[in-house]
Amino acid sequence: MIDPAAFSWRFLRVWKRNLLVYKKIWKVNFLTPLLEPLFYILAFGLGFSGLIENVKYGGADLSYTEFIAPALIATAVMWNAFFETTYASFVRMYYQKTFDGMLATPLSLEEIITAEIAWSATKSAGAATIMSIVLGLMGFVQFPMGLLLIPLAFFGGLAFGAIGMYFTGITPTIDLFNLPIFLFITPMFLFSGTFFPVSNLPVWAQPFALAFPLYHLAELARRFSIGTNEISPIISIGYLTVFFLFFTHLALGAMRKRLIQ
């Protein structure tokens, strides 16, 4: 089982390595979170505005763009963290043998994996920061409450980074990441109360949406940007915490099985 002696602050060294690499292309990395919310708001705000009436959510009456803006931050958190610990981590582990090199140092496998998940969450937080500023300028995020979106993005990033790392531990080839993306990420992207309230779903489908971590992240994002939500934030925070711990545990086991032979 997991040995507590395998964890130390040394994991920050691996996190720093990823930061160093990220800084080399930071301009490109900043472009996506800068432009993505603009595109969505333009498309949905201008294109959909005549088609969709106001959305009733958590007792409030919101314009459609007001409704989706916080969810855009939540989905960006998901994509950033999940892509980082799937494709990017897999490349480092399998093609670049970066982890093999690290394992010849005092670093433990547990520290490397923890650092990768923490790094993916950091990327999510970075993207969320820029998006919050952009959306804030457009009036979709209220400050100073909106500052809480940054730690929230890190927290949500941990959950999605952990499940991504678990898939990296079990996937035989990089192409097979299509499977969790198609079967898990995409439906979640669409059905987590992101683009329409979960209450619009048929009653039988609603519990499924509530099981999605993205639902809870979008809930919390709305709480921190416009001060409204459907269910208690305590439930959402609890759910994401358990989700993160559970998949981190699975990820560590899968990676140990995969790399230590």
Binding site: R13, L20, T98, A104, T105, P106
Partner: protein, 303 residues
């Protein structure tokens, strides 16, 4: 004598397959120790257990008089590893590779910068310090891996086939650097298929095959013991020669088209062969470690 590595009845199994089968050996401080063997002999598996990458199935493995299971961090902090595959970080420059790696050992920044400069000089890579790792030639990449493995000033250096795939120039340069390191009193464990490398560098070596250690000794000692002093290779030996060899109980290997005779010192066999039995082509030469290796592990192809 100060023991750096002590291995007793070490076993490594992968499922049903036993890769390392009850091997025992020890390495003294300051020794240049070789692990030789054909592909699949268990060399890399052994070495991976040494640096804590792969946990042993059974047996005892002590490094610096500590157990790798319970003291992996303290042991790994004092080991330098040059892995067989290129594990350099392609996302980083040459110099950053050393800086970041030093970070994994918690070496302070200033110290890391000094050591990087020192080792880039030593391995003649200073002019490439800002290059991308992908742009390095095979020889340069190998030298950078060596530089990286020294960044923590290890008490034990582990080299897994450090010159495989290099051109002769690069190979000799790596040997020269390893000779220089040896003079500093560094303890080194090396695996190789290159017999010239092993004879030149190793104070002592073991030859492994099928997960077992076959022999243990210094290169000179092993050559004298298993391949005599001189070798005579005879192409197309005739019946008369074969009978002569049997009659005089001369150590030999009969390969059909070719007969190899192992001649102990001062028997004057050379002349007899030259005068009486050399019909086609005969080669007279000194015995080498390669002869020992082939005699002990056989001549069949592996893999």
């Amino acid at each position: 004598m100060d023991k750096i590595i002590e291995i007793q009845d070490l076993i490594k199994q992968f499922g049903e397959f036993t890769a390392v089968n009850e091997i025992s050996f020890s390495v003294n401080r300051g020794e240049f120790f070789g692990l030789l063997g054909p592909n699949g002999a268990g060399k890399t598996t052994t070495i991976r257990m040494l640096y804590g990458f792969s946990p042993p199935t059974r047996g005892e493995l002590r490094i610096f008089d500590m157990d790798i299971d319970t003291h992996f961090r303290r042991i790994k902090a004092r080991i330098g590893v040059c892995q067989q595959e290129n594990t350099l970080d392609p996302d980083l420059s040459v110099e950053q590779n050393l800086h970041v790696f030093a970070g994994y050992f918690s070496i302070p920044k200033k110290e890391a910068a000094e050591r990087s400069r020192e080792y880039l000089e030593f391995f003649a890579l200073h002019h490439k310090k800002d290059a991308k790792v992908m742009e390095l030639s095979g020889g340069m990449a190998r030298r950078l891996i060596l530089a990286r493995s020294l960044i923590n000033r290890p008490d034990l250096l582990i080299l897994d086939e450090p010159t495989t795939g290099l051109d002769p120039q690069s190979r000799h340069q790596v040997w020269e650097k390893l000779e220089a390191l040896k003079k500093t009193g560094l303890t080194v464990v090396i695996t190789t298929h290159n017999m010239e490398e092993a004879s030149q560098l190793c104070d002592r070596l073991v030859i492994m095959d099928h997960g077992k250690i076959l022999v243990d000794g210094s290169p000179e000692d092993l050559i004298a013991r298993y391949a005599g002093k001189n070798i005579i290779e005879i192409e197309g030996p005739d019946q008369a020669l074969i009978e002569y060899v049997k009659e005089h109980a001369i150590e030999h290997d009969d390969l059909g088209r070719r007969l190899i005779l192992y001649e102990p010192e001062g028997k004057g066999l050379n002349n007899t062969i030259r005068e009486r039995f050399c019909n086609e082509k005969c080669i007279y030469r000194n015995s080498t470690l390669e002869d020992v290796f082939l005699r002990l592990t056989g001549r069949e192809l592996r893999e």
